[in-house]
């Protein structure tokens, strides 16, 4: 089930909200059941996998907290990490591993199974693991009961594509949260804005990008329109999903952390990663970069840590070497940035934004291409100077969406306040989105694959 399915919008969500509102004493069990129905809609067996991950981390967290023995605490944490990473590794990376080893050995050393990737496994595994790690670090206390913890891991608004929420951010809210008409209205508004971002902007840009990446011989102009369209598609798709998740959270009384803050207006790559998929960046910072030593062990070690962190962040995005290279690309850019910090500060801000956007866009070519060869071919098209047909629809869409992206920060109150004007706007956006969903059989969210 997707947030942009009519079955979710006109069946699942209203029923869950109705039950949630009618039985205030049973809110957590209702939400937990809804989470599992939502997830099981894809494949009932996926629920078992999530339940395993939940049980392992709940028990690990409980015994880590109870134990006074450091060695035992460490073993428990290692067990939790091993089980979680093994599940993630098997379902997500076994295919890549066997394909690579077999190719290197020129023989079928490992079987090539067709393993179905459970939706959102990267997201909930990271959430679940953060619980055990934080417990080990004595930053949190155990969940009151298993159901509260299971509800946290499986919370359907953010289950399959984030934001990645730490237990400590939700612990108090799981026990007691407020439900006000203001929160509900803001949640509804945020959800509809997110839905429109996905349906009206991202899917439209997706048509242009898909067309460009599917073409064999593409002219330079069309290639640039294609990659810009993809840059906007992925941003509005993913930030639209995050808005919907945050909005749904508000409908159920939760306050989730923000996941995007105008990333295409970043003045550096470091700044970009503080604004793009913020919760994932924070996760890697706190659980990979800082434990590796962060920036406290000298410049050489800092640069290595940056590279390792970005390598892993790339790998997290998908079981493909193009994603790994994409991560390494950012690692290298961050290293260069560190080494040229003083030079960069003298460049005008507008130029810094343009340079950052250019570098990010170049990265999207790797991210979008199915293979290195395809990526190289696309890079070639971008700089070949070949003429070709450029569709007016593509140019117009990219210009309009570009303007929206630039002026977006001027309207921060769009998510904060509700009014008669916003009610009418949201109603129209909702109807327009429904028409597009019904007619277009909207595509799934891009970040579901990670």
């Amino acid at each position: 089930m997707l947030f942009n399915d009519t079955i979710f919008l006109l069946w699942f969500l209203p029923v869950v909200l109705l039950l949630y509102g009618c039985f205030p004493a049973k809110r957590t069990p209702i939400l937990l059941a809804a989470n599992y129905v939502f997830y099981g809609w894809w494949n009932v067996w996926f629920c078992l996998l999530m339940l395993t991950s939940t049980t392992v981390d709940y028990l690990a967290g409980k015994y880590i907290f109870q134990s006074q023995n450091d060695a035992r605490r460490k073993i428990l944490l290692l067990c939790s990490l091993c089980i979680n990473l093994s599940l993630l590794g098997f379902f997500k990376y076994f295919g890549l591993l066997s394909e690579t080893i077999n190719a290197l050995a020129s023989a079928a050393w490992l079987p090539t199974w067709n393993i179905v990737l459970p939706v959102g496994i990267s997201f909930y595994t990271f959430q679940s693991m953060s619980y055990s790690i934080d417990m080990y670090r004595k930053k949190i206390t155990p969940a009151q009961n298993f159901f509260d913890f299971a509800c946290y891991v499986s919370l359907f608004p953010q289950l399959v594509a984030g934001p990645i929420i730490r237990y400590k951010e939700l612990a108090d809210q799981l026990i007691a949260r407020t439900h006000t008409s203001d929160k509900f209205a803001r949640g509804l508004q945020r959800f509809i804005i997110g839905l429109s971002k996905k349906i009206l902007i991202a899917d439209t840009c997706g048509l242009i990008a898909d067309n460009a990446f599917a073409m064999q011989d593409i002219g330079t102009g069309a290639a640039w329109i294609g990659i810009l369209a993809y840059a906007f598609q992925i941003y509005y798709d993913f930030s639209g999903y995050s808005d919907m998740a945050i909005g749904l959270g508000l409908l159920f009384g939760f306050t989730f952390p923000e996941n995007f803050r105008y990333p295409y207006l970043s003045i550096s790559i470091g700044d970009f990663w503080r604004r793009w998929h913020i919760t994932l960046g924070n996760w890697f910072r706190d659980y990979v970069y800082i434990p590796l030593g962060g920036s406290k062990k000298g410049i050489k070690r800092t640069l290595i840590n940056l590279l390792i962190t970005m390598f892993l962040a790339g790998l997290w995005h998908g079981a493909s070497w193009t994603f790994v290279l994409w991560g390494v690309y950012y690692g290298v850019l961050l290293i260069i940035e560190r080494l040229t910090a003083t030079v960069r500060s003298s460049i005008p801000k507008a130029l810094q934004i343009l340079m950052t956007f250019f570098l990010v866009t170049m990265g999207w070519v790797l991210f979008r291409s199915p293979s290195f060869d395809d990526a190289l071919q696309y890079y070639g098209s971008l700089f070949s100077g070949n003429s070709g047909v450029i569709e007016t629809f593509g140019i117009t869409t990219v210009i309009i969406v570009g303007i929206i992206t630039i002026i977006e920060p001027r309207y921060p109150h769009i998510f904060q306040k509700v009014s008669l004007k916003s009610a009418i706007t949201c109603s129209l956006l909702f109807i327009a989105s429904l028409i597009m969903i019904a007619g277009n059989e909207s595509s799934p969210f891009l970040y579901f694959q990670f």
Binding site: L10, W11, A185, A423, F430, L434, A438, G439, N440
Partner: protein, 372 residues
């Protein structure tokens, strides 16, 4: 006044009200309207959900239209027709249920007569031609029939398969290749039956997705708008004829029409059909096989030039020759269809449907009857 001081309540009232209105419309429509009329034609309704066909029904869908025009969803391309559809206690298209008939007709949508009324359905036409009752085991798969051959075995089974399903990659062909000839009929155990009922209950809400009037209205607005602006269908699955004949084609059929017998893996198809004939022979049943040409095969000349296939080496003819060499009785309806198209303007297939119309069925069943 109070609402003016509480913009959040005003917001909930307007947006929530709209939401409830849409939900209410969606919920009330199936109650107020006859359920079968929420489907674009009778076939979609009787197919039921999750392989669980509806049973013991006789009903008429007014202003029904074709599956292709449903995909395209542009009013001017629809060919409205009333379709009466009768299904027996097994969910098969029979007016009277008896499984002791000498002849059984089997196949999927083509042999069921999807898109056509009872009086034009293949079973009705063939029974009229042969002047003998026919049991229509359609919609049904040959693999299902082989697993449940009735005690009173028929003398002949007429099996029709449309060209686009006559490929080695087709699921039914693969099933037939992989299965053993059942020596006796297998019946579903009560445990299996229970599982089917549970599955039905659990998945019933998905029926809603197919009957949602809000979704249908959204689709309608989107497709009509897209077509009027872009002058081409929004659906990626359909292709329009080059001439102004309002003919619609299925793109999958066009793709297959460009494949030769090797690409279609007709060897596997031939093996599956031969194996089926052998299995039936074990029960003293004779197979009469009808390869049904796709609409795109018969009306290839109506396609835009660049999409037209070259039928110099016709894979369907090649398959029929291979089958005849193996001793399988085959009904050639391709030749009379092509002759008809070159001489007459009356249509063998519905312009807005992937399926054949009354004339196509009549011609095909006349050819089949000649083989008795």
């Amino acid at each position: 006044m109070q609402l003016r001081n509480h913009p959040e309540r005003l917001f909930i009232l307007i947006v929530g009200g709209l939401w409830l209105l849409l939900i209410g419309t969606d919920r009330l429509a199936p109650v107020v309207l006859p359920t079968e009329n929420l489907y674009f034609r009778a076939w979609e309704y009787v197919r039921g959900q999750h392989g669980l066909p509806r049973r013991n029904l006789s009903f008429t869908v007014h202003n029904a239209h074709g599956d292709l025009s449903n995909m395209m969803n542009v009013s001017t391309y629809k060919v409205p027709r009333d379709i009466t559809f009768t299904v027996d206690s097994n969910g098969m298209r029979n007016s009277e249920t008896t499984r002791e008939d000498a002849t059984v007709l089997i196949g999927q949508s083509f042999m069921t007569g999807a898109g056509n009324s009872d009086e034009h359905a293949p079973g009705t036409v063939l029974a009229r031609e042969l002047k003998t009752p026919i049991y229509v085991y359609a919609p049904g798969n040959m693999s299902q029939l082989l697993r449940a051959i009735p005690d009173e075995v028929p003398a002949t089974v007429i099996w029709g398969v449309v060209e686009r399903n006559l490929t080695g990659s087709n699921a039914e062909i693969q099933t037939l290749l992989g299965m053993e000839c059942p020596s006796e009929s297998e019946t579903k155990t009560s445990k299996q039956k229970m599982l089917i009922i549970i599955k039905k209950i659990l998945l019933e809400p998905t029926t809603y997705a197919r009957t949602s009037v809000v979704k249908k209205l959204g689709q309608k607005i989107y497709n009509e708008t897209y077509f009027s602006v872009a002058k081409k269908p929004a659906s990626p699955h359909v292709e329009l004829a080059a001439s102004p004949s309002k003919f619609i084609f299925l793109k999958k059929g066009i793709r297959i029409s460009h494949e030769d017998s090797k690409q279609r893996n007709l060897d596997d198809v031939q093996k599956a059909i031969t194996k089926t004939a052998d299995c039936l022979k074990l029960h003293n049943i004779e197979l009469l096989f009808i390869p049904i040409p796709d609409k795109v095969h018969v009306y290839n000349h109506l396609l835009p030039e660049e999409l037209q296939a070259n039928y110099a080496l016709d894979p369907l003819q090649e398959l029929m020759q291979q089958l005849r060499r193996k001793g399988i009785r085959t009904v050639d309806i391709l030749t009379p269809f092509m002759t008809h198209v070159s001489e007459n303007s009356e249509l063998l297939y519905w312009p807005d449907d992937t399926h054949w119309g009354p004339l196509g069925i009549e011609k095909a069943m006349t050819e089949a009857a000649k083989r008795f």
